[in-house]
Amino acid sequence: MSNITPDQALEKATAAAKAAGIAAQDAAAAAQAAQSYVDQLATAAGAAAHSISGGVIDPFVFRLSIFVLAIFVGYYVVWSVTPALHTPLMSVTNAISSVIVVGALLAVSVPMIENGTTFAKVFGFLALVMASVNIFGGFLVTNRMLAMYKKKER
């Protein structure tokens, strides 16, 4: 993606600053170099964002764009589904909506040290089991149904 969010820009700038610190003998010179790098990056990021929206964009807007466009894609794709396959359509949409499993995996993977993580782990695990039932059940039952649709022999 061409757009660099302020956070990413900052990350890169920090990395650059660190690299500069090691490379340069003189601390002041290093700081100066890093500073100019940060300025450059910030200008670049700003320009990139500017060229799209005329300002800094909240990542939410990008997600919303994806969401809205995906609704349109879904609209046209689903209308093209043949009515004979509406039942498999329901079971397969069921299976793919279980991609919510990514959230469950993140919750289960929480390190145990932090506060409240035991709860998060338990909830994540429950969500994981349910989503897995759906993923395997949904795709397999769809497959089973689709295998039954045959053309006329002859």
Partner: protein, 466 residues
């Protein structure tokens, strides 16, 4: 793993999901589509694991969760009877809904793992997205449980009308909005669980008043809800795959609901408000039935008529699914084909308890899909047909939908079976259909009633044909 790479791979899996739905445009490409879906899911899971870098203990938990869930899912997928697909889909919807609730709870208790802030300082925007996901998820959960119970026969298919239900629902919905606002300002876990509870109650109350034959709409609507819930969580996690999938599933369910409503000529709102088809007693005085005579025939008569026909159109309905008559039906069709009779199947959009229900059952019985036609494609053929064999359908053939503006089903598109030379009606009794309306077709001269269980009658016809 690099964050940009991760995000790109999620996008790839989202695109694969689009392709998996695209494949369903034809039975020929559908299995490939399903494979795309599986690949997309595998990519999403692997990418998440690489990015989250779970500890050894977490990895064991993940494997256990995938193993338990996957095992149960695979077992169910293998064992389930095709006639039970509507309840299975309802059950699966409930799981998506509940999973959404639990993922949101996980995110609330460990926000740092999801990059949405720290405990006590979760971003307001994430809280809003999360509460939308959790509310829709919980509504989907209990709604689907009720739909499951109705479809599975654990609960009467009759609409249950609670007093003041609209006021109660509006009250609960208002409470829900206020609770979401409270959550954003306080981030109180207690408020979060209140949202869950209110949504659970609301989900049940929404579905309870809706009758059994409106289930095609309900099940599509819940399909849509499960998508919006997933999208809500997708926004919280900033996950492209989840957002795309949520949008796809959401619009898919919405379109299916629309198609089902159109098939019944009813507005979505009137279905959701419920109460349709409950008062079967209100359907005309019983005397009107007794006054008119019905021609009833035996399996032998039916076999004779069909043997001498050149074109037979079979109209299956929910009764065929209940009686599990699809295999006997296919046997009958095969025997007739050997006699040189042309066989076609006509499917009404709302036949059965879910979209496409009849097509799956016929496919299961090895009926080739190019012999099965949708309403618009076959309706003109009835005029040239010798026999319309109506098995387990009633309201979808009722000419009152065209002629009687007083009828509750007036305006509903119907299959013109009346235009066939002979109409064979397989019915258990003279009882009216779901809509509670008499079907005047029963009393016509060219109609012959075959009373009995759909499967038994069809088997008897097969015997008589031999």
């Amino acid at each position: 793993m690099n964050a940009s790479l991760t995000a790109t791979l999620y996008l790839v899996s989202g695109v694969l999901f689009v392709l998996s739905l695209r494949g369903l445009s034809s039975p020929a490409t559908s299995r490939q589509g399903n494979l795309f879906g599986m690949i997309g899911m595998a990519i999403a899971v692997v990418v998440t694991l690489l990015a989250a870098k779970p500890s050894f203990g977490s990895a064991v938990l993940i494997l256990a969760g995938l193993g338990i869930g996957g095992g149960i899912g695979a077992f169910i997928a293998k064992k389930i009877a095709m006639t039970a697909m509507p309840q299975l889909v309802a059950a699966f919807h409930s799981l998506v809904g509940l999973a959404a609730v639990f993922v949101a709870a996980g995110a609330l208790y460990a926000p740092q793992a999801f990059g949405i802030g720290d405990v006590g300082h979760v971003h307001a925007q994430a809280l809003i997205e999360m509460s939308i996901g959790v509310a829709i998820g919980a509504i989907t959960f209990t709604g689907s449980i009720i739909a499951f119970a109705k479809l599975n026969g654990n609960m009467s298919g009759k609409p249950i009308l609670l007093p003041m239900r609209h006021a109660v629902n509006i009250g609960l919905a208002t409470a829900l909005v206020l609770l979401v606002i409270a959550l954003v300002f306080t981030e109180s876990h207690f408020v979060f669980w209140l949202i869950v509870i209110v949504s659970l109650v609301l989900g049940g109350l929404i579905i309870v008043p809706i009758g059994g034959a409106d289930m095609p709409v309900v099940i599509s609507m819940l399909n849509s809800y499960s998508g919006w819930a997933a999208a809500g969580i997708g926004f919280t996690l900033g996950n492209t795959a989840l957002i795309i999938t949520g949008a796809l599933v959401g619009s898919s369910g919405a379109i299916l609901s629309y198609i089902m409503c159109k098939g019944m000529n009813r507005s979505f709102i009137s279905v959701i408000l419920g109460g349709f088809g409950g008062e079967t007693t209100a359907a005309g005085p019983a005397g009107s039935k007794e006054g008119r005579s019905v021609k009833s025939g035996s399996a032998e008569d039916a076999a004779f008529i069909m043997k001498n026909a050149s074109k037979v159109i079979i109209v299956p309905g929910y009764g065929m699914a209940v009686a599990q008559a699809q295999h006997a039906l296919r046997e009958m069709a095969d025997t007739l084909k050997k006699e040189g009779v042309e066989i076609k199947y006509a499917i009404h959009p709302v036949a059965g308890r879910m979209p496409g229900h009849m097509n799956v059952l016929l496919a299961e019985a090895n009926v080739p899909y190019d012999e099965v036609f949708e309403l618009d494609d076959i309706n003109n053929d009835f005029g040239q047909a010798d026999v319309a064999y109506v098995i387990g359908a009633n309201d979808v053939t009722n000419p009152a939908a065209k002629t009687d503006p007083q009828s509750p089903i007036y305006g509903m598109p119907i299959l013109d079976v009346e235009k066939a030379k002979t109409v064979l009606f397989i019915k258990r009794s003279m009882a009216s259909g779901y809509a509670g309306v008499d079907n005047e077709l029963f009393f016509r001269d060219n109609t012959m009633m075959l009373f009995g269980d759909a499967k038994k009658v069809t088997e008897e016809i097969v015997k008589a044909l031999a």
